[in-house]
Symmetry: C2
Amino acid sequence: MHFKDALPLQSGASIRAYDLSYETYGVLNADKSNAVLICHALNASHHVAGVYLDESGQVQAKSAGWWDSMIGPGKPVDTDRFFVIGVNNLGSCFGSTGPMQTNPDTQAIYGADFPVVTVEDWVDAQALLLDALGIQTLAAVMGGSLGGMQALAWTLRYPDRVRHAVVVASAPNLNAENIAFNEVARRAITTDPDFHGGHFYRHGVLPKRGLRIARMIGHITYLSDDVMNEKFGRLQVAPTLVAAPTPFKYSTQDVEFQIESYLRYQGDKFSEYFDANTYLLITRALDYFDPASAYGGNLSLALAKASAKFLLVSFTTDWRFSPARSREIVKALLDNQRDVSYAEIDAPHGHDAFLLEDTRYLGVVRSYFNSKVAV
Amino acid sequence: MHFKDALPLQSGASIRAYDLSYETYGVLNADKSNAVLICHALNASHHVAGVYLDESGQVQAKSAGWWDSMIGPGKPVDTDRFFVIGVNNLGSCFGSTGPMQTNPDTQAIYGADFPVVTVEDWVDAQALLLDALGIQTLAAVMGGSLGGMQALAWTLRYPDRVRHAVVVASAPNLNAENIAFNEVARRAITTDPDFHGGHFYRHGVLPKRGLRIARMIGHITYLSDDVMNEKFGRLQVAPTLVAAPTPFKYSTQDVEFQIESYLRYQGDKFSEYFDANTYLLITRALDYFDPASAYGGNLSLALAKASAKFLLVSFTTDWRFSPARSREIVKALLDNQRDVSYAEIDAPHGHDAFLLEDTRYLGVVRSYFNSKVAV
């Protein structure tokens, strides 16, 4: 969807002549009351569910949407009932206007000049997309992690346009440790000599070294200690077959342990497809999000504006956005006598759990949509 | 102390004509029964206590030893009673032979050719230093974190030469997450274009970008979530004085939050004095340490060799080497009917707590040395 008019941003800047990539699933009903907006986190896109077919009609490998276990016909967010919209956020690198695209004012690639966007800016852009689709009110807005922050922001910015908010594995703001991890990842990118102050496109290089480090750090924070120990522990890569006193290579630079190999692989893969400036922009949007800040840090006052009904979900082993952070939101909503359901799922997978198939997790969301979300 | 003879290493390599830097405090008694060896962790040295004076006899700023709250006259490890030895480990960069020095076989700077050393290698070198000092048996060996691993290794490698082991904020091995953090830090260093495969010395450059990132990651893991939130929270750097809708700069590269500023400062400082190859070597020594591995992972079997008496100390908010890891050691020692004292200190400072002044922590160590460690 192309947008001609300038979008004013929280920073005071604006962005004009931009596109938003989106996908829809299911059918919008006659009174347009069954729309569910899905908000994505750091490295996801508008492709939330289903698969892509190639020219011969075969399913493309690894083309499943990032929340395909959650969304589809007969799934917890049932596309036989709901009209689901996935949208790629401004500044991302999967089709919507972002740093890799041309600035209409200069005819140069934006790069580091792409304006800093916030969660609230994304919500504003999403609202304009809904306008263009003729949808006034959402049956629900839903997201995990940074996506959950967008869902929460929707209830504050457009309280009359959202009936339910489903906020999964999220937080009312980042704490110091969260910001710290973001900052290290950003520094790895911006101090990569191939970053060129964010204008690497014009130098024909990509700051892959920095992106790899950023992704490796990210992966550590997405997993729980438990699942890492269970999956990798101290397992070594292919054990040596020669007779030796120990199977180690005694090298500081070779891979010895499987966890090293896994992280390097994840870093390499990520650096091939993800835009460095997008990484900076999205982690900054995370850092900035803090609806309570305008209320002296009082989240209960901040959430007074929200009139939606809420489902909050957290995961016991998530140390990035721990259950305690979700409970802060629950408490602030209860302080305002809001209708809020909360499920703390005992899952071993850490923050990543929100993307995985877990019977209890999917069951809770299914029940919520079945019993609470009328169309 | 210079050592002429080659030291055989766990890797099968050896190192010859090496030096160990050490400091001593207090007086060795007549029967040489009051020696306490202090083992250091990643970025510390033989300078464990006391201060240095400049030429005019003034105390040099910031010259206090890294465990000065623990060791000295009248302190928990009382140098009026004990003869304390601090030693810089092989491969480090504070005086003992390491990658920055000249390989006697090639007359070139070692760089990446410095052999990989293990905790056990360090213990062997420390034992040779004791030989040279005429000390057969230690009243105690003591260390925190990686230093605690050395203390534990002492009790297994030279059980007859150590009467007490004090193991603080340590672990019987690294878990997957610990290795993961080490690996990300190493990759930041080795992929810095200024690293030159570890032979940066001959290029007249230093891989400071990588060292900065490594240190920033390290610092996050040394602190607890709680203390980070208390100390930094979401506090911003110098609030803007101009009228603006918000005090943010809306920049992905400038510092917005104090935690970012703190981490950048720590990274910058570290990159000025620490050797990159040493960083790789020491984190690898951490990765490799695993006394139970030769016993099919059974720590109780592994610790059967230890005959020393033990004090284990852990800190409640240490998520790098959590109390659970110390308890594994305690249990394995109890399985062998060993004499073990264990204190789990309720401290907010995370892993860093072992270096800080905490009344209860220092009190426990004081009581142990006063009541249990005869000279």
